[in-house]
Symmetry: C2
Subunit: 140 residues, 2 copies
């Protein structure tokens, strides 16, 4: 397994809001498009709201984009639904400090992992949600 499907659901939600702008989309409606439970949608909308990507108000249907989709990158969405401390690469935690390799492997690997993660994030940052939404629309 890997990166949570929250990410793909979040992208789905934002695309829906964009393409139905003006409509008041309930979490139930969105859930029927994603094909999941409305609570799952509300949870993810909550994360997007905390990240400042959408604005919602309790008790009122219809989340709105906090800024144009062209100013929201896939990386913004990724980070919104990913718990911050969650590292992409896991590391074995307590190598033996009495061993020269065990003592130093973590620092060396950290560097490699960070570079790899940055490369992925840079790629995500290069795509905006607007591009995604237009791509989806072009297939319809």
């Amino acid at each position: 397994m890997a990166i949570s499907s929250r990410f793909s659901v979040a992208a789905h939600i934002l695309t829906l809001i964009h393409q139905k702008e003006g409509d008041r989309l309930t979490s139930e409606f969105i859930a029927s498009s994603v094909n999941t439970n409305p609570v799952v949608i509300r949870r993810i909308l909550g994360m997007l709201s905390k990240a400042g990507l959408v604005r919602t108000s309790a008790g009122v249907a219809g989340a709105r984009l906090a800024r144009p989709l062209g100013e929201i990158t896939m990386l913004d969405v990724y980070r919104a639904v990913q718990s911050e401390q969650e590292e992409l690469f896991a590391m074995h935690e307590h190598p033996n400090p009495a061993c020269p390799v065990g003592r130093n492997i973590q620092a060396s690997l950290d560097h490699v992992f960070l570079d790899a993660q940055r490369a992925m994030e840079a790629q995500l940052a290069s795509v905006t949600m607007e591009q995604l939404s237009l791509d989806v629309a072009s297939r319809a």
Copy 2:
């Protein structure tokens, strides 16, 4: 959570074999450096062996490198310990085909995800295990 720590353990193992070349490292010795159970090491060594990165023989201590560390990239190691079908990005599986967005979002996201994954893999491919091993040694 994220990419299994098998990856970091595998890198640790290869570094050890490299730096103690000639010695016959038992899974128990390696396990004490990684600080885990010998069976975990044997399992991962098995994956490295299947991937053609090391050679082992049943009943005999001392795995050997199948080729020089300079010809083994971090991506090779990553792929060796990662089940092939395992995608980095998960996708919600059954969006509603009756919705224009639900019907097309997967294809669009697939493209974005693939690019991001490739960016990460390209970065991993640019680092050899030899570089890692030398970096570890330089800290000792």
